[in-house]
């Protein structure tokens, strides 16, 4: 593939992520990978549900005593919005508008960082209360589930940032367009997982 080939919005393919064989393979491979990730998270959810509120005799922590909804709500809003902004970024990618795409991605990254900050704050708060990773099975499973999601957020952000830096001089081409597309799929997937986390962990946790 010729990286120096110049495109105009008009000659830019309608589905740049799928217009090379590499791109097709990558998109499909990534979807399949997400299938595996789904099962991975399912395992973590199942374990969390089994170990929820379980701890050493006389443990005073429970989902109901710990979780506070306002924080979870704000986090949810940040992440949902970042999902939309990454949709905007892909919209501009397909329009061959590199600048606008990068700009929307920066917004996405900022929202993601906000989410991450709140999550770190939340963990810090719980640890402060004595609810730690090693305190109980509940703690282990909670931090592993939510932490794995957090790790995905970090990876997603790192991916976006690396892509933006790496391509800032290169601009869009058919070699990196699929990469942007996949990073944004990854970001949506992170949001999908979060929807279940806020529902199953936080909301149903508060319900008891």
């Amino acid at each position: 593939m010729d990286l120096n080939k110049k495109f105009t919005p008009q000659s830019w393919p309608a589905h740049p992520e799928n217009s090379t064989l590499e791109g097709k393979n990558k998109t499909l491979g990534f979807w399949i990978f997400l299938g595996g990730e789904t099962v991975l998270f399912a395992t973590l959810f199942a374990t969390f549900l089994a170990l929820k509120n379980k701890g050493p005799a006389g443990m005073e922590f429970s989902t109901q005593s710990l979780f506070e909804l306002p924080l979870a709500f704000i986090m949810t809003m940040l992440l949902l919005t970042s999902s939309l902004t990454s949709v905007y970024a892909m919209y501009h990618m397909k329009n061959y508008n590199f600048k606008a795409m990068q700009a929307w991605l920066i917004v996405t990254v900022l929202l993601g960082l906000g989410f991450l900050g709140l999550e770190i704050y939340e963990f810090y708060h719980y640890v402060h209360l004595g609810f730690t990773f090693t305190q109980s099975a509940f703690g282990s499973s909670f931090y592993t589930l939510v932490g794995t999601h957090g790790l995905h957020v970090i990876l997603g952000l790192a991916w976006f940032i690396l892509l933006m830096l790496r391509n800032s001089k290169r601009g869009l081409n058919l070699y990196n367009a699929p990469k942007y597309y996949l990073a944004s799929l990854y970001w949506h997937f992170i949001d999908v997982v979060w929807v279940f986390i806020f529902t199953v962990v936080y909301l149903m946790g508060v319900l008891g």
Partner: protein, 623 residues
């Protein structure tokens, strides 16, 4: 062994293999590494059998015995059987579907190196304070209680090699979906391709639970988490579920490709189209699907309650139906055929009764109340060696003979091959048949010794004798390989004369870019169709000769894997207060990995082109 190797210096060949992204060379790497681990696991098996040859034997100590069985099971399943199957998948599947290569050549190489470094890491435990000793299932209460670092080696080693397997699985899925030559519809794919496809899908869904389970184990042992610590609210049975949610599909990951290989062999040497092709495909998918619904049949005695046991018992039995469809389709393939008993065919014929015998004992175990008696007895050992050795190992040996000419352009000696078969086959039945009775007579598995006079002495001795016959068989196979390599007679294209599928249509030695022109597939068994129509070339082309795009070799996969290998030592020793170097090592290892990944990401690696003119001049596979 390939003709290219000889022209280059030794160092250059090594470097070539360290950096290769060519599926054919990666196949050879898998074959070598897998064989190495098979011999290691086999030697461990021999130690087991020697120890159990007579009552109150003290050939190995109790603790060592547990390490041996654990490493035997783990090595055989993860480091021998799976990689050997990957070897044949890599060698044959891209050719069978008429592809240039797999979808992600770079990842293909990464998958291999991850597997190899994980395997080496696991086996280094022997020299670094003791191997894992909680059985290949590593049940949580025992594995948490196990002193030393054995279990840590197990968890980290499997984690690394498991990542490699997952990558390989995704790679095959995409390859099969996206890289098929024109005309190669799903319902024209050779059965080995189909079974590779379904097995890869099983890998995709079965390995994540193992990954998570192993992380729990690592966290519990190394970072004081409480997943399995019941005093702090944990639950050991979670491990059992996660392990078997992975473990049961795993056995079908192993056996489905074996089924595929046998399907090819039956059709080829019966000179007949595979009987009931579409129902074979259907059965493969159904087995894959049901494989996820039955894991708790390994846990009938755990105390999950009668409802769970009953549901899982009946679900398990259901698997007999699609498997039976396959068995009868094979029988009907040879029925009315024109059977030539070559070495591969001999193995395939040996497979049918052996596997059926192993399968039906599986159904007996599926009957939960009966399994209360059979569970954790030698009956189980007999069952799974019947399906594994009688299914998978026979398939591997068969394919070694069958695909040797495809991979190396040489024919293994047929006579010696048949002698190998006899030793191995007789030894196999001799070893494992009597174990059914040992189990029924009350002998538990995983015992390092047994008291005399409990009625078990004779059968154990018979079993050991059989194992020695098997060992002779394996050694003969190695001898065969060496003789063949020394003789070095080119086998040429379609050496079995009855090849049916595309991989036999390619010239020998296989050019590094595979098909010069992408073939056009005109039906199931497309090579056969062309031959029957008298097409000398054996192929119709879908395109004129044009430039071929090739990926660059890369050393990065090796480095990524090496980094994780190094990091694993850091993680493992970080529990020991006196090993202050552990954290730096962990960081260095991860740094190597991430730096390699970033290097990969920053470079635009676009590969290169073989130009049309070059291809026109090319005669065969030299470059």
């Amino acid at each position: 062994m390939s003709s290219t190797a000889k022209k280059k210096g030794f160092g250059a060949t090594i470097w070539d293999y360290l950096t290769t992204v060519d599926h054919k060379k990666i196949a050879i790497l898998y074959l070598i590494a897998g064989t190495f681990f098979f011999v290691v696991g086999g030697i461990e098996a021999m130690l087991i059998r020697i120890q159990l040859a007579k009552p109150d034997n003290d050939f190995v100590s109790a603790g060592l015995f547990n390490e041996i069985i654990t490493m035997h099971g783990t090595t055989m399943i993860f480091l021998a059987a799976m990689p050997l199957l990957f070897a044949f998948m890599n060698a044959a599947v891209p050719l069978q579907i008429g592809a240039r290569d797999v979808a992600f050549p770079f990842l293909n190489s990464l998958g291999f190196w991850l597997f190899l470094f994980g395997g080496i890491f696991l086996n280094l435990s022997w020299f670094l304070g003791g191997a894992p000793d909680a059985g290949w299932t590593s049940y949580a209460s025992l594995s948490l209680a196990s002193p030393g670092h054995g279990i840590d080696f197990y968890a980290l080693g499997l984690q690394i090699s498991g990542a490699g397997t997952l990558i390989a699985g995704i790679n095959f899925l995409v390859t099969i979906i996206n890289m098929r030559a024109p005309g190669m519809t799903y319902m024209r794919m050779p059965l080995f391709t189909w079974t590779t496809f379904v097995a890869s899908a099983l890998i995709l869904f079965a390995f994540p639970p193992l990954t998570v389970g192993l992380f729990f184990m690592i966290f519990d042992r190394m970072f004081d988490a409480n997943f399995f610590d019941h005093i702090n609210g944990g639950n050991t049975v979670i491990w059992e579920h996660l392990f078997w949610i992975f473990g049961h599909p795993e056995v079908y990951i192993l056996v489905l490709p074996a089924f595929g290989l046998f399907s090819e062999i039956f059709a080829t040497f019966a000179r007949k189209r595979l009987f009931g092709y579409s129902s074979m495909v259907f059965a493969t998918i159904l087995i894959g699907f049901l494989g996820f619904m039955v894991w708790a049949h390994h846990m009938f005695t755990v105390g999950l309650g009668p409802t769970a046991n009953a549901i899982f018992a009946v679900a398990t039995m259901a698997i007999a139906v699609p498997t039976g469809m396959k068995v009868f389709n094979w029988l009907l393939t040879i029925w009315g055929g024109n059977i030539k008993v070559t070495t591969p065919m001999l193995y395939a014929l040996g497979f049918i009764p052996s596997f059926v015998a192993g399968g039906v004992t599986g159904v007996m175990q599926a009957s939960a109340p009966l399994d209360y008696q059979l569970h954790d007895s030698y009956f189980i050992v007999a069952h799974f060696h019947y399906v594994i050795v009688g299914g998978i190992v026979l398939a591997l040996f068969a394919s070694a003979h069958y695909y040797w000419p495809l991979m190396f352009n040489q024919m293994l000696n047929e006579t010696l091959g048949k002698i190998t078969f006899v030793f191995f086959f007789v030894g196999f039945h001799c070893t494992f048949f009597v174990q059914h009775f040992l189990g029924l007579m009350g002998m538990p598995r995983r015992v390092f010794t047994f008291m005399g006079g409990q009625g078990w002495d004779q059968f154990n001795l018979i079993s050991t004798v059989g194992a020695f016959l098997m060992a002779i068989g394996v050694i003969l196979l190695v001898v065969n390989v060496i003789i063949t390599a020394i003789k070095n007679e080119p086998a040429g294209r379609d050496p079995w004369k009855d090849g049916r599928t595309l991989e036999w249509a390619i010239p020998q030695p296989v050019p590094y870019y595979n098909f010069k022109q992408t073939p056009l597939v005109r039906g199931l068994d497309t090579f056969w169709i062309e031959k029957m129509e008298g097409n000398k070339e054996g192929m119709t082309y879908a395109e004129p000769i044009s430039d071929i795009h090739m990926p660059n070799n890369s050393f990065i996969p090796f480095m990524i894997s090496l980094g994780l290998f190094v990091a694993a030592f850091g993680a493992l020793y970080h529990q020991d207060a006196d090993k202050t170097w552990s954290i730096p090592v962990l960081i260095i290892g991860l740094a190597i990995t991430f730096a390699s990944m970033i290097t990969r990401s920053l470079k635009d690696d676009l590969g290169y082109h073989i130009h049309k003119e070059e291809l026109m001049n090319e005669k065969g596979g030299k470059h």
